[in-house]
């Protein structure tokens, strides 16, 4: 399998073409923007946090298949999680795409993005939504 086939798997293509949770979120308790200055990809992440849990997560923006599918799958995965659980998922996701570690089972569909680790130029695309998540959680936490 070529690197390209390894990267652009069915799952990724589906999420990129028809992203889940796409569109603004009414009643969001936190909203943060993220962008990738090198390629112009952009995301707005909306979270509704209730009792320390992410009740809902949606996003808007534009970008490549990697950044869009990552945001789509991430917003699926973090729904219902506590903030700490979400941060733990972020850590595991980054371990996979940045460090090249094997995907943790909790990552589910996101394991389709593991090929990104071999393509350094694309790591920032995959982590765009997750960086926004980290920032959103930071902002949502009572300091």
């Amino acid at each position: 399998m070529s690197l390209l086939e390894e990267l652009y798997r069915e799952t990724i293509m589906q999420h990129a073409q028809r992203p889940h949770n796409f569109g603004p979120l009414e009643g969001a308790t936190v909203k943060v923007g993220g962008h990738n200055p090198s390629c112009g990809d952009q995301i707005e992440l909306y979270l509704k946090i209730e009792d320390g849990r992410i009740a809902e997560a949606r996003f808007t923006g534009h970008g490549c298949a990697i950044s869009q599918s990552s945001a789509s799958m991430m917003t699926d995965l973090i729904r219902g999680r506590t903030l700490d659980e979400a941060l733990e998922l972020e850590r595991k996701f980054k371990a996979m795409v940045v460090e090249g570690e094997p995907p943790a089972p909790e990552l589910g569909d996101l394991s389709a993005l593991q090929g990104v680790a071999k393509l350094h130029a694309r790591v920032k695309c995959a982590t765009l939504a997750w960086n926004a998540l980290e920032q959103a959680i930071e902002e949502a936490r009572p300091s």
């Binding site: 690197l3 652009y8 390629c39 112009g40 298949a65 990697i66 694309r122 695309c125």
Partner: protein, 405 residues
């Protein structure tokens, strides 16, 4: 005769990456052996600080540095004392914007830029505008991607104090009629600042014929090392310009309260410069002059025409930029609805290196109605077979991403 295959052999990078199709010279060019060797030779034989030591080695270093300045002067058709070494075009443009702008701009003044400017020739003017109350106006583009000359004529007014324009667009490849525009702007009393970052590497430049006050370029885009660029200034314009950075080497006499400044170009070269990089840039200018800039331009043009013809065969490929003789070897494109970043990964897989994104020209992309494009750019070492490889890779990518078209 100009033989790109022979030229290519002068560039060690292609020995180490024999299959590489490098189509990103607009971002930074590769370096010929002559440039790398000049830099190494300088460090091994001549290095000391410049303009300071009373010993032989420092004289040698100073001589190497000043020879590089003379070479850049010859390259630009200028005098050596009009050539200021800076880090890159960005620094050159900031130097003018701050040094001239903070001194001369007032509330109600206008800075005229264009919609195709690189951020390097826009953001410095915004920063200075914010501090002086000046306003920024932009010359719009025609549908083909040229400057709208009628709009230029309307926008130019007695309030226009600065006209800042790129000689060649780093996205569309458009070569602007700078001499004509500059003459009109200067007649109105505006300072004319030309961004030559893309033009200087590719076409013969005689700065005096451009009617400009200042001209900025980056050495690393014209076969030189990173870290050395040039601000050319018309002698009178430089003489009137206050310093930008203060420190050693740029002064005449210093007391605790005040200083008097050295004449240009030293006035604008505070601190220890990038000596080895300047020496390398001098070698790059020599290399290009040996090839002949007329030949470099003819080569770029021929490759561009061939590429446009071949790329027109690729279905779903959208090409940006004007068709005509007023265009250099830069092609921005998009394939169907596919994001250019995904496209570039597919091209990279086949050894074809292109850049994607907004190429530091967001207002231009907004005008084109896209967030990003992929961009192929040519230089002296590119051959028609590189174009063929690009076309093949695009056709393959089109198959692979068929759902996205």
């Amino acid at each position: 005769m100009f033989d790109p295959a022979a030229v290519k052999r002068d560039f060690p990078i292609f020995e180490h990456h024999p299959d590489l199709v490098f189509l990103d010279s607009a971002a930074s060019s590769q370096k010929p052996r002559a440039v790398v060797e000049a830099t190494v030779r300088y460090y091994e034989h001549d290095h000391a600080n410049v303009h300071r030591g009373a010993y032989g080695l420092s004289m040698r270093a100073t001589e190497a540095y000043e020879t590089a300045r003379q070479r850049m002067a010859r390259f630009l058709g200028a005098e050596a004392d009009e050539v200021v070494f800076v880090r890159n075009a960005t620094e050159a443009l900031n130097l003018v914007a701050y040094a001239w702008g903070l001194e001369h701009l007032r509330g109600g003044d206008e800075i005229l830029v264009t919609e195709m400017e690189h951020h390097a020739n826009l953001v410095p003017w915004q920063l200075v505008a914010a501090r002086t109350g000046a306003r920024i106006k932009a010359v719009p583009l025609t549908a083909e991607g040229r400057l709208d000359l009628d709009a230029f004529a309307t926008l130019l007014s007695k309030r226009t104090r600065v006209f800042a324009v790129t000689q060649m667009s780093n996205v569309l490849g458009t070569v602007n009629p700078v001499a004509e525009l500059a003459a009109a702007a200067r007649e109105r009393g505006a300072l004319v600042v030309v961004d030559g970052a893309q033009a200087a590497p590719h076409l013969p430049v005689r700065v005096r014929e451009l009617n400009a006050d200042f001209y900025a370029l980056s050495g690393h885009k014209m076969l030189g090392p990173t870290g050395a660029g040039v601000l050319w200034g018309r002698r009178e314009a430089l003489a009137d310009l206050p310093p930008f950075l203060g420190g050693g080497s740029m002064i005449e006499e210093v007391t605790i309260e005040r200083s008097s400044y050295a004449p240009p170009p030293q006035r604008f070269e505070a601190g220890t410069p990038a000596i080895a990089e300047a020496v390398g840039l001098g070698a790059a200018a020599d290399y290009l002059m040996r090839l002949g800039m007329e030949n470099v331009w003819a080569h770029d043009r021929a490759l561009l025409e061939y590429a446009l013809e071949r790329l027109d065969e690729v279905p779903d490929l959208h090409l940006y930029g004007p068709r005509g003789a007023d265009r250099g070897g830069v092609i921005a494109f998009n394939l169907g609805r596919l994001h250019p970043h995904d496209l570039a990964t597919a091209l990279d897989e086949r050894g074809v290196a292109v850049r994607t994104g907004h190429h530091c020209a967001q207002p231009l992309h907004r005008r084109l109605g896209v967030a990003a494009t992929a961009r192929a750019s040519f230089y002296v070492y590119n051959t028609p077979s590189d174009v063929d490889r690009l076309v093949e890779a695009l056709l393959e990518a089109r198959k692979f991403f068929a759902d996205w078209l």
